[in-house]
Symmetry: C2
Amino acid sequence: MFEFNIIAECSRTGARAGELTTPHGIINTPVFMPVGTLATVKSMSSRELEEINSQIILGNTYHLYLRPGSEIISKAGGLHKFMNWSRPILTDSGGFQVFSLAKLQKITDENVICRSHIDGSLLIMSPEWSMDMQRVLASDIAMCFDQCSELPATHEKLEEALNRTTLWAERSKEYFLSHNDVNNQALFGIIQGGTCDDLRERSAHEIINIGFPGYAIGGLSVGESHEAMYHTLDILNNIMPPNKPRYLMGVGYPLNIIEGIARGVDMFDCVMPTRNGRNGTLFISSGRVNIKNKNNAEDFTSLDPECDCYTCRNFTRAYLRHLSMCGEILGARLCSWHNLRFTVRIAEQAREAIIAGKFPEFLERFNAKFHDNPQTQN
Amino acid sequence: MFEFNIIAECSRTGARAGELTTPHGIINTPVFMPVGTLATVKSMSSRELEEINSQIILGNTYHLYLRPGSEIISKAGGLHKFMNWSRPILTDSGGFQVFSLAKLQKITDENVICRSHIDGSLLIMSPEWSMDMQRVLASDIAMCFDQCSELPATHEKLEEALNRTTLWAERSKEYFLSHNDVNNQALFGIIQGGTCDDLRERSAHEIINIGFPGYAIGGLSVGESHEAMYHTLDILNNIMPPNKPRYLMGVGYPLNIIEGIARGVDMFDCVMPTRNGRNGTLFISSGRVNIKNKNNAEDFTSLDPECDCYTCRNFTRAYLRHLSMCGEILGARLCSWHNLRFTVRIAEQAREAIIAGKFPEFLERFNAKFHDNPQTQN
């Protein structure tokens, strides 16, 4: 039920186009995966996600553990049925939220003890807990429980997290193989190591040695510069096995996606399209738009004439600005809708360019057209 | 461009089925009109409104005057174009919000001086202002500027509001005929008088004498009992010209709609379906449901198996509860969606029953099935 085939490669960059077969369908890569934190991609219905050609969505194990909880999702028959989504789902391990959102109490090689960001209740999380929870969620792709560090971080701190990530990857895999439905769920490994070349290399080798059907790059887009991110991707591109899918976690900024694809990445996820959408920050082919800006008040043109989304085909900038200024739900919806479609679409366009043998030209054109101040990203 | 034809009447109640022709299409009555306060029926897109068979929506003149303002809507070419809605629109006069929402400063026969509930800016409103604003909005049906009183109110206060409403109806009509696009917009009169029989009768006669293509019943659903509302409707049913459409303003509670139809009302509007939906209060054929109630947590059945809406056909009560408990936008959407479809549909079902000559049986069945505590309606 799980297979990855590369169908085209760029001869001048690391970009590749592939097909990832999962129990809920084939995913054409490169692919952007919208984030459905609490069993909903914020503001979007499942049929709208299909309409924007979202091939796969992500669920957050930590959030779903807290609400509605594993018992309800188990009784519903898994996350697909609970939220009425029939295409593939990837679940994260819960690790990232434990370190970014929950109140951390104690971390040892054994487990993580923290307090819920919702009600302060005590939580004990471990590789085994994560595999159990992801089994209940019944995602197509599960992730190893790992330790992610915010950047900047010391070499020592990054190394400690790396070592624990390797240890937890071993435990994740062992527990997964004996407890989860291995015919219907694939477990991906996660490479850590921050932006230290030696640590990245070591982490990659250790995780690849354990052996997984896919590999994720964690610990990027957490405070480092674009250049440092690209440099780390260049290093990993030379180490990661070419015949396995590669997933760059938490990356959704348009330029980062395109540059990630150029460095051999197949999968991306980020809350940016929906979070920005709710705030009125929009990405279009020419760059960033703040829809609340006064110069949109009487602009009766489409947000992005090149975009094929419902928002751009039906509404004006003036209307979007009005809705956003009034805090209307429809404003959050239409802006999220566009941002998601835009982000999904640039991965689609990159794929088409790779298959047509024209990815370097696409990359150059995209970079030349997309004007934004990189300092202001997320 | 404006015509009203009755195509069926109930022989045992006042119920009637009609066709109201407007510049943007024919409306089958009885009809419930969703409220699109700020150029959006909260949380719904225009194509979803079409999907639930919303034949006409309402726009709020006061709100739209404040945001985005008449200049932007004028430049957009009217409210239809601004919000991309191609079916009929009815606009209220702004009067109701002036008395319920704005900070009232001074009211005379000449005009109303109040302060905006948004930024406290000074506003001067009058029949002429309202006709000007509704001309800019370019609604299919405009309403006379009137004075509405909350109930309970003294006979004296109600009479003062009634007198002013008659005076303003004359001024509204006079100004409308010479300034508005009378070929593409119809002006309805509004009857006031609270729940005092003598005042209701007088107001009805005065407004009908001025002469309008349709008549609204204002000043109900503002604090009185259901019985008092029905009694007033009974009185008006005997006075209002049968060949003109009758619009009961601000009524959206399911039982009130059905009983209103039984008393000859053709049109209804209310924010209740969307406001309640956002709070997780839902109406189904058996009555009221608080979706946040714990007994829905593990209920994997449809909200209302008899309902044909997107929510009921695709999602479970457990999922709706989860979304509502988490404050997710999709929860507000799916609950509003159902409530709107439910409310639109009961008017459709009443119409079918009237045409089939079975309205009294429908009324009896509806009342027997719909269980709710009338004290809790809002």
